[in-house]
Subunit: 148 residues, 2 copies
DNA sequence: ATAATAAAAGACATCAATGTCTTTTATTAT
DNA sequence: ATAATAAAAGACATTGATGTCTTTTATTAT
């Protein structure tokens, strides 16, 4: 896998909220972690970070919970990646040398650079909404289990 | 970075041996780790694995050391990857679901599958020799430091 | 105001990747 | 045979990613 577990949890969490929010309600971390089979407190911290970065909204107390923000659906996978991973690593040398460019290429640079750029472009142009509409009728089972 | 630190050490180690082996001699782990600024014993274990997988040759005792095997130069990056990483992960779901194919796609599958295939193809078709001849006149400084 | 609720925050645990140190084994030169 | 050399192997340490548990803070209903 190229993507971190944390990133996956974040995407699935956001999608779950998007799926049930049609019913116009807040969603509690308890429900999300149970339905998605994701560690509750770990997911909690991830969603907290998403809130800090404006990707989600949260309210404490009774009837509180998480919900999508105004423009969550138009956020990109790169925006999510920025909150769950170290964005710099996307552009750093695969051999971890200080510079990574055509001028100072490591033996792998010319081989991997194009693919890495395609990957970054993908994260950048794909939105949460793309994930929802892209999968023909996204449903709970598409994000729920670690199985079939 | 997509590739592990271990993979990078392996590649650099092999390339170092290839560069100095013109002089027809064995290379000691001590020299490699020093010239490449790589942890000696960690690199040792990595090279051991490469030997087990037929990517390198090693001899104990005085005048011993590591050297390229008959066909090391024609080995692919995927062969190296196989000894340093978990090859299955290359084809597993980015959200870590049990299946990963067009029939059971997770929300990310259609987005990332093509790029992942390109990446695997790259590892598969690129050989050690490609790295040597691909970089215009590969030299020590191309693999030696973690910097410029 | 008080109690209940739910997120936020903090301390700590576990695991895999990475790194260090010591002992063992094989080979060679004497 | 013995000593020196160098890889192999094994035990242990560190770090970052991941996961668990407890306490705190904010909000709401009563
Ligand atoms: S210099 Fe190594 S990947 Fe760019
Ligand atoms: S099913 Fe998730 S990447 Fe293929």
């Amino acid at each position: 896998m190229i993507l971190s577990k944390t990133f996956g949890y974040a995407i699935r969490g956001i999608l779950y909220i998007a799926l049930v929010q049609k019913e116009e309600r807040k969603v509690q971390i308890e429900e999300i972690s149970e339905k998605l089979s994701v560690p509750r407190h770990f997911l909690g911290k991830i969603l907290q970070e998403l809130v800090r970065n404006g990707l989600l909204t949260s309210v404490k107390g009774p009837n509180g919970g998480f919900s999508l923000g105004e423009n969550t659906l138009s956020k990109s996978l790169l925006d999510v990646y920025r909150t769950t991973d170290h964005i710099e690593q996307l552009t750093q040398c695969e051999l971890r040398f200080n510079q990574c460019d055509k001028i100072h290429p490591c033996p792998l640079h010319d081989k991997v650079q194009q693919i890495r750029e395609e990957f970054i472009a993908l994260l950048s142009k794909t939105t949460i909404n793309d994930l929802i509409t892209g999968t023909k009728k996204l449903q709970l089972h598409n994000i729920a289990t670690t199985g079939v």
